[in-house]
Amino acid sequence: MRRTWARPLLVSLLPALAALPLAAQESRTSSDPWAILDGTYRPPPEAPPPPWVRTQELIEASGEWKALGETYRQSLERLGKDDRGALLKVVADLEVVAIADQPERRMPRLAELQLDVARELARHDPEILVPVFQLHHDLYLQHRSSRQWYLLLHSVSMVRELAALYVKEAAGTGAKMNAARILASLAGHLQAGQQPASVKLFEEVLALDPSNESAYLGIAAHYEKRGGPAEQVVVWLKRLLEVYPEHREGRLRLAVNKLRLGKADEAAALFAALLEEPGSDWVYRLAAQEAARLHARRGRIEKAIALLEKALERAGGDQKLCIQLAFLYDRNRQSFDAHRLAELARGGEPAAEAPRGRYNGWPHEALDHDREELRRLAESRVQLLARVLGRAAGPEVNP
């Protein structure tokens, strides 16, 4: 790759940039970089650049940005050919060098340059954009792991722009669903540390595809994990259940939150319905735990015990059910039974995923499914992209 324009001094600024505290970027001001998500982001007022930084005009005049565009284009051609990790590193390095000395000013120009390439390609066939937004989605993860905060924002911005371009050019419900999937996937990743931005993105997903399960669950889980308000959680879960009335996780979460709102009878009815359905998955086991807790709280210890005994029959030696039942036996002065259950818990095998931990985590199954679908789609479009890029190949650039 040609990097003659990138002076070592610019590169030396990278550690300082990487060390920028994330918290500083979380404040909601017009210059907050995360404001790109609601379109209110404004770069800081222009100030005379330090004497060692070249102006954008000088860089443009030198032809370096044009060469950068070509390098980016050639990288896209290598999609599906080179090792993906190596390709991601090449593009990530390119972006690092491009914005290093003036990240907030160079970022929009870099986006413009990459989008110009994408727009040109989309004229041939908009489906080509699928592997391109998948690439920028993966670049987000790359920049996150290397703590390149500005480029992480750039990747979010690129995925959104490319998804919007794809919807506009490809049209149709299928395109909207695919665009929604890539945004949902990104929103899922943003949940680790940027929850408000994640919610914003999930809302965009639902504007594109009102049947996106991940988005409803993601928003509900966001409010639930930060401690409420439970009313807000219930609103989003009800929307999910309007689309998917039989959704087991949705009904379980709704029951738990109804309980928080003091609607114990409604919660009990939801738990009871879940317990009547076949199977002993994590939803069943958690519904049994919560239903038994509700009985115990209402002083119905015998009912709680009967419910857990039945649940244990179905769920084998589930450790949590054993411990909970041991405690209730203990309360009921059935010390022999309590001890038997405690021993059963001690000897029980750990589950692949503890139900209460699964509930507290982000609902990942739907996201995992969407990501897999999207990856398959992107792979199927790579040859198309290569053909188009081959037809309109630019000058050769050394990788």
Binding site: K320, F327, R333, A338, R356, G357
Partner: protein, 387 residues
């Protein structure tokens, strides 16, 4: 032909009715009240094969046998109440036979249940343990009323310990390795009559041994065990207390963790309920390398104030049990901390008294232990439940 089939069909139920299963309960006796562990024995006679024999106590199934001898041992609890024992035998073709007896309650004008209360007491002066006290130096007060000591011992009273080692993902690497070394040091220093169980937990039990005196049996199967999952402290402290219920003598829980409870099905209030009814001492080795004790956090199960309250209640449980909290600021402090607990247990005083004002009403009795010498700090269980 069809008439013959009809005749056979009519005859079959009659055969069933004629088949007999006789059941007799040999023990317990209907003349004696039943308390605690009760041996039940039944005799079954039948002219057909017996498939299974089931014991019910107070209408709850308590055991099922598919062949003789028909003997069970069941715990009916300590309450002075009638108990109904029913044995039901089931044979081929749906035949059944049952026998029922009822054991009486003891008739008394006034019922008083007086239980020996044992206190494990650590006495220090200027952070050094004081080892030369006699029973005359101690004063024990139960709800403010002074109680005479009926037993007094010092030093090596045998103990049974549950070592609860947090093995959640945050313990990966040196933290868990140091915790296991600490547990090993604890077990290696135990005396011949002492026993311990090692229980590694995250948000579920990852590994648990039986009670044993053997260091190898405790630690050998741990090769390759990876720290994984979140943390559920409450459930496993309760479990430890429950498993210790069945043990005799001095009982100890040592909890080693770097975090707070996230995913327990039991609340700390429920654990406190158990801790108050247990005579076990709880020691909490809290690894706090980053000063995170008061970090505020919310989960899908509890908001930040509720999580804070859980931590405070765990502290209360530890203090009320007569144990203590040791905050460790580096992994190097873990192994010595385990050793120190065992040393402290070796140097405790064991005081026993019979409460003079029991009502068996579930109320909490505050117990206060004083030493009549200047500069002494006394640590012991803060009370007990009157039940």
């Amino acid at each position: 032909m069809s008439a013959l089939v009809a005749l056979l069909l009519l005859a079959m139920p009659q055969t069933n009715l004629e088949a007999k299963i006789e059941v007799a309960i040999l023990q317990p006796s209907t003349l004696q009240a039943a308390f605690g562990d009760v041996d039940v024995e039944a005799q079954v006679h039948a002219d057909r094969k017996i498939l299974e024999v089931e014991l019910f106590v107070d209408d709850r199934s308590r055991g099922l046998l598919d062949g003789p001898p028909y003997r069970w041992r069941v715990d009916v609890g300590q309450e002075n109440v009638e108990h109904r024992f029913r044995v039901e035998a089931r044979g081929e073709l749906g035949t059944t036979g049952t026998s029922t007896i009822v054991t009486p309650r003891i008739r008394v004008d006034e019922e008083v249940n007086v239980q020996l209360q044992q206190l494990y007491v650590t006495v220090t002066r200027s952070d050094s343990r004081v080892l030369d006290l006699s029973e005359h130096d101690f004063r024990v007060f139960d709800n403010g009323r002074r109680e005479p000591l009926v037993t007094f011992a010092r030093g090596d009273v045998p103990l049974t310990a549950v070592l609860l080692v947090d093995s959640s993902v945050s313990m990966k690497g040196e933290r868990l390795a140091s915790g296991l070394r600490g547990a090993e040091a604890f077990v290696a220093s135990m005396k011949p009559l002492d026993e311990a169980m090692l229980l590694l937990f995250s948000d579920q039990i990852l590994h648990a041994t039986a009670f044993t005196q053997q260091t190898d049996a405790l630690l050998e199967p741990l090769a390759g065990l990876e720290a994984d999952g979140n943390t559920a402290i409450n459930d496993h402290v309760y479990l430890a207390l429950k498993l210790l219920d069945a043990r005799q003598g001095r009982r100890v829980v040592v909890l080693f963790t770097d975090g707070a409870d996230l995913h327990s099905v039991l609340g700390m209030e429920e654990v406190l309920w158990k801790a108050r009814r247990s005579q076990a001492l709880i020691y909490w080795l809290r690894l706090d390398e980053g000063g995170s004790r008061y970090t505020s956090f919310a989960t899908a199960w509890r908001d930040a104030p509720a999580n804070r309250a859980e931590l405070e209640m765990l502290e209360e449980s530890v203090i009320q049990s007569g144990g203590r909290i040791a905050t460790l600021t580096s992994v190097n402090a873990i192994e010595p901390a385990f050793r120190e607990i065992l040393l402290e247990l070796r140097e405790q005083y064991v005081l026993g008294f019979y409460p003079s004002s029991v009502r068996n009403d579930g109320s909490w009795h505050h117990v206060n232990v004083r030493v009549e010498r200047a500069g002494m700090k006394v640590r012991a269980r803060g009370g007990y439940v009157d039940f």
